[in-house]
Amino acid sequence: MSLFMPREREPQTVAPNWQAHLAALAETAKDSHLRGFYAAGVPAADTPIRDVPMIALDVETTGLQVGTHSIVSLGLMPFDLNRIHCGQSKYWVVKPMSELSSESVAFHHITHSDIDNAPRLTHIFEELLDAMAGKIVVVHYRNIEREFLNHAVHVHLNEGLSFPVIDTMQLEAHLHGSQLKQSLWSKLLRRQPLSIRLADSRLRYNLPHYQAHHALTDAMATAELLQAQIATHFSPDTPLGDLWL
């Protein structure tokens, strides 16, 4: 039985068999880089998390709407439970398909002059997929990273990109499930709802404050957060299948 037991179980679809799913995609994907990525596969669902090679991913975007907004930078930080490997980290600024707005500039400090000479996302796909191949991707709030990447691949290759993730925000939501749903009583007492944003989640584990909204810093922050979550709430023997989505 998993240690990871949500307090209020949502009507849950059975976790997909990612190994089989990716193996099938390795046969059917049209693009050769995608086939290579899928062929590298993922560890089996019963692999203990201590043995799983992972890679934290963060993307910064021009806004929150998939389709309207696009990716401007990506950070990748490979790690496992024992070490975060800064030396193998990767960071790219890419030329977005949509315009930079002044709000997004203020948010992540990537400016017009930064992206003038930046490559298109297509040009770094091969390197990105190579870095991710064989590793479990770790993100904070999977809807951004997975959906933006999926959409970008769709636009460029006319086929999707599918991979399992561990979502540190989802873990935090489950761990503090009861405190997230505000009872009438809490509202009357004006209790602050618990925040599961990256910076606030890190505070609960006494992790230091970082400058937010830099893709590589956020990827590093996410990797540290997962190490802290596992060290605090899980055993290193927890099977991967209990954590991925």
Partner: protein, 638 residues
Amino acid sequence: MQIELIEIRDHLSRFPPFDGLPEDTLDEIAPQVEIKYFKAGTDILSYGAPIHDLHYVRSGAVEIYRRDGDLYNRLTEGDIFGQFGLLRNNKVRLPARAIEDSLIYFLPAALFHQLCDNHDSFADFVEAEGQSRLKSAVDSHGKASDLMKIKVRKLVSRMPVTVGPRATVQEAAQAMTQEGVSSVLIVDPDSSWPNPARVEPLDKPVASMIGIVTDRDFRTRVIAEGLPPETSVCDVMTAHPITVQSDDTVFEAMLQMLRNNIHHLPVLSRRRPIGMINLADIIRYESQSSLYLANSIYNRKSVAELQALVPDLRSTFLRMANEEASAHMIGSAMAGIGRGFTQRLLELGEEQFGPPPVPYSFMALGSMARDEQLIVTDQDNAMVLDDSFDAKLHDEYFLKLATFVSDGLAACGYSYCKGGIMATNTKWRQPLRVWKRYFNDWIDKPSAQTLLNACIFFDLDSVYGNADLVETLKELLADKASNSPLFLAALARNALNRTPPLGFFRTFVMETDGQQKHIINLKGRGTAPLTDLIRVHALACGATAQNSLERLDAIAATKLMPQEAINHLRYAFEFLSIVRIRHQALELEEGRVPNNYIEPEKISATDRHNLKEAFQVLSNAQKFLRFRYPAHPAGKSR
């Protein structure tokens, strides 16, 4: 190389032994770091286990134990451990355990040995066996001279909060509230700076940070003025704020705050803002600092309240002298405090008599302008008024203001100038055009007699008001003097009037004071003629620097004198000044009125020997001065 790993790099750069490493080396270290989180109570290193990394505490707390289990040391943010294992046989000698949730950085052994090989300071630090003891001794002592060594970046705790130029004051206030900071930087989003993602090469022109807004600005420039929340932040910011470089010392940052009466300083690494330090950061670091005193000056509401600070001024001077701060530090700090008194008195005066009818600058002269003030000092000041000044209409106001300041300074221990060089004297309270005429006359028609008194005006600096008025005079003097050989010759002769007390065979020639004791006047026959001599060379070089050490830097840049001669002068100046300071501190402590006279019999043999050396340097430099600026310059003798 991944210089994007800025969080790691900047954190390392604030703590020893990394704080002494060059920027390039720090850039190379960050990408080699590995990280792991340790829950409170978990073991990090066990005795005898193999060790292949230097460990660095990024956050949390770690205890180090002896082999027998006794506590050896307790470490926190920025401390290192594991070095003894790496220096021996790669076996853990002292086990370690996290006592709080901790984030640990690992630096590979190869990198560790490479840093030891290439950087002596790094090697010395990690090899020091009693490091923890020494560190706590230094920490508890808080030596003033450490301020000269510690880099500003050590005080920086986080990246600065920034907004774009299109932000409103409300948005800026929201950003500050959300981040819990008391100031925000305004940066131009169309410049590639200050993108934390990269470090700009030095030679690439980039737009700079355009301004800063502080808590106080919201009060004085927004609320007090009744401006709406949608006002552009650019309308209320301080444009082009004064900054410090991360490599600057805490002392330099302190001086910037003292001189400019500002409480927030953006810290830059080259052009990239890496943080913000404020007055509280420095006071927290050094609770007795002269800044603390300077800050309290600005809260005083009357002359009597200012006067009450005089004992604090004395104790600051004593503390700095006893903690072996350099003469340069003490001179600058005392001048900064003197400026503080003057500025506050002018503010109080303007409150009492109303705003000035025409712009003006209150000008410091002599030692305050040179940042070389000590504890016993006269006030030497003047007023430069805007050319729209009309004596009939305006002079009554300025006389009242000058009298108020001069009396206030006298009450605070800055006695009246015996030569009458004070803004209360009509002659020294004049519009810019008259001041220009004074300076032109002194330079065009130099005579030994006029220069004797005028010399004091050749060290000048604005203390309050429109500084441009004084800057104009500084530039006029520097430009014109360097092209006037006759003036330089007259000034040089003047500088030779006072000679060091050296007789045959380098024995002291001593004066006798009223009580028939053999004495040496350290100022009159030491620091003062040395200052005079440096001033002549500096003006010959067209330098606008006022501080003697800065003037020496300017002279060095022109190759007028060999570097070695300049080093000798620098050493002599520092030594004579520090002996004078120590003497005054001793007099103060023994309840006497400090003076400049020492009795050579009462000082140590080493000091006596060094004094002779310093006077010899002065004597040689005077010979060179005589030769370099002859009374009948060749070019003028047709």
